[in-house]
Symmetry: C3
Subunit: 301 residues, 3 copies
């Protein structure tokens, strides 16, 4: 594995292999001294052309737990303001000795292009509406922990499917792992098609007998753009305890964060025993350690 | 000691114990290689919902001198802009493996609430007007160095007492250590009462025979809010060499920084032999090392 | 060498000595584990009163490759907004235990003043239009690599000479190393004189038989200030493949970055074999390692 861009062309075996490495990393994180020398001498750059403190810190900790050096490049204080291109920014970092680029961009495809510019490894940390593969990997890891396996399991994803790279990557990955993925949301926030998933505007249909429910964040921008009204959304798509009655008993609840409590879900559900929100974040560090290890040390793989 | 929020419920012995640890840390900082492995494998997060580069860097260096990993979360680039709550931010960091939170917030009480949310240690780095305990500890440490002891010593604090968490925490701590604390400022900037301190609008009364004088920063916001006029303040409350004549000879001068030279004090006084401003900053790193050590390693204490 | 401010008073031997150290550092950067313990226990602060992610990260990596601790202070989130002076900022960092200050300021002379304020080493990372000595050092290092030597070599610098600290420092340094420096630009962007260089408004004259060509960035501010019109600049001063025909065959091309492709140079030239742009950035880390080593460990020199 040279890069992690999305799951196109991946086999189920490759994904399972990566998730096995994540399991080893999870054990490292349980130790009193949560540190291994696996990436000593490597330099990892987080290059965020769109701000995201959570994801950046998660990757940063993943890299540091493996003893890599980390540098942070964010657009807010960067040469991009001075008109430098994405490409020249990455070439500059490469010349400074960076070995892996954790790339977040507001437009789709930047990580793919980046692999043509630099020799180092590129990890997509979210590109526009397209993909967010490490989020899907941590979701898959968390679901596997909770459900034992994904084969034939019904996973409901609820919310703004149209603009969500999280939905897109999860549909791709979870279906590859044998799950049946249903995506529900208001018609104005549903794409015409989504590879790996069935789409429905009827929340109940998606929740019916679901083995797990993933709730997406509702961005304020969608309301400002008039795509949806807050009251309407809450009335018809908020995930509530009552509506969860349709899912399997104790079906776990996931959310990629940051959450708008009492918008996309009843706030208290995030703290209930069925919530895996914290576990997702924990697993996120392990999954990102595994990804960095694979792209930097196991590049032949 | 599990957390450091303020000094309510603290005994004099507990404070003295902490300051003894700070003395050991001070010695570490005098060494050619200023580093000990005491916190190896621990992760400390600075979580600043209000910007303060000085305090953040001081804590960051304290943590690094003890070989902890440090991550920085600042509101400016954070999920809070996306509506995430303080609570969810901290839970997310906890799930990523953070062991201690250095918390700065613009509203009072956030650090107290945080102790109910997370399992890790919470250190208050300033919450609204309420408390700034590590500042008071470094002030106490610096005064003890300079005066030998605080029992029966008269300490004058001058400036905007009403809005000052530094004044509040110092009144609490210095009086616990046996000092007689006087706070002087314009009537519009004096609270009705301040536990541990006597209040006066007459600067001369506070300075009279004072063993040490602590000058507070005058925030521009107070003038913009019409609480005080700059010329009036300077005329009646600026700490000048002449006015210091009322204090004991060579009474040392403290300031928590950043200073407005020639506003709250005559600028040259900050560079005079009686100024302990630099020593305060030096001791700040040692005191914060001691605090991190106590909350992370000596939590039973 | 105690500080690096500019090249006034430097001898050719001193520069060559520093570049020899950079060569050793260059070899460190070729190793699988690019790290030496040379600066263990030292603390380096990047203090940028003007943003520059590239230069900051280059210095940061240089310091980390030598195992120093690094803290970053940027004006955007700093006490300067609260009115603290440059001096008090540096004194505060010194009291926290900083050993070297990498200083970037928008006004000339701040690094010189800083040497009177702090005991630590000051490295000028660019002060107003005055100097940018580490940029000139990495340019000299790169030119020496490419040309074998600088004695009698004609180096053309093209662009906004008037406002360029890069041009100024290069003229100073390259002429000290025996080169003949020509600076070309529009009359409105040429100073009356530049020590170490000949000035000309005629691009062809500067390029004629040049051994190397250094292209400067054209700042948008110059156009906004009406000093030059974009179309005029491109028509008369853009470095194109055709115009490079006047220079010696294969004369290398340098640019301090970030580049405005197709403004100050034909974009494709930056990716052509004659471009040393990436090599400059690579050498920048090595040169900055050498500078930090000299000011921190070899201070007697």
């Amino acid at each position: 594995m040279r890069h992690l861009l999305d799951f196109q062309g991946w086999t189920r075996g490759e994904v399972e292999n990566l998730l096995d490495t994540a399991k080893v990393m999870r054990e490292v994180l349980e130790r009193p001294v949560k540190k291994v020398p696996a990436l000593q001498g490597f330099t990892v750059a987080t290059v965020f052309f769109e701000p995201s403190t959570r994801t950046r810190i998660s990757f940063e900790l993943a890299a540091r737990r493996m003893s890599a050096d980390v540098v942070s490049f964010t657009a807010a204080t960067s040469s991009l303001q001075k008109g430098e291109s994405y490409k020249d920014t990455l070439l500059t970092l490469e010349a400074m000795g960076v070995d892996a680029y954790i790339l977040r961009a507001d437009s789709a495809g930047v990580p793919h292009q980046a692999t043509r510019w630099v020799k180092g490894a590129v990890v997509n940390a979210g590109d526009g509406r397209r993909a967010h593969p490490t989020q899907a990997l941590l979701d898959a890891y968390t679901l596997l922990e909770a459900l034992g396996g994904l084969e034939g399991k019904k996973i409901a994803i609820v919310g703004d499917i149209l603009h969500s790279r999280v939905a897109r990557s999860n549909a791709e990955l979870l279906s590859l792992l044998g799950a049946e993925v249903w995506c529900a949301g208001p018609p104005s926030l549903l794409p015409q098609a989504l590879p790996g998933a069935r789409l429905t505007p009827r929340l109940d249909e998606a929740l019916e007998e679901a083995d797990a429910v993933m709730v997406l964040r509702l961005q304020k921008e969608r309301m400002e753009a008039g795509l949806v009204q807050l009251e309407d959304y809450i009335a018809h798509y908020q995930v509530t305890e009552a509506r969860l009655g349709r899912a399997k008993p104790h079906a776990p609840l996931l959310h990629p964060g940051p959450m708008n409590r009492d918008v996309e879900l009843e706030g208290h559900l995030a703290d209930s025993p069925r919530s895996l929100v914290q576990r997702q974040v924990q697993n996120g560090v392990a999954v990102r350690m595994a990804v960095l290890y694979h792209v930097l040390v196991g590049r032949e793989g």
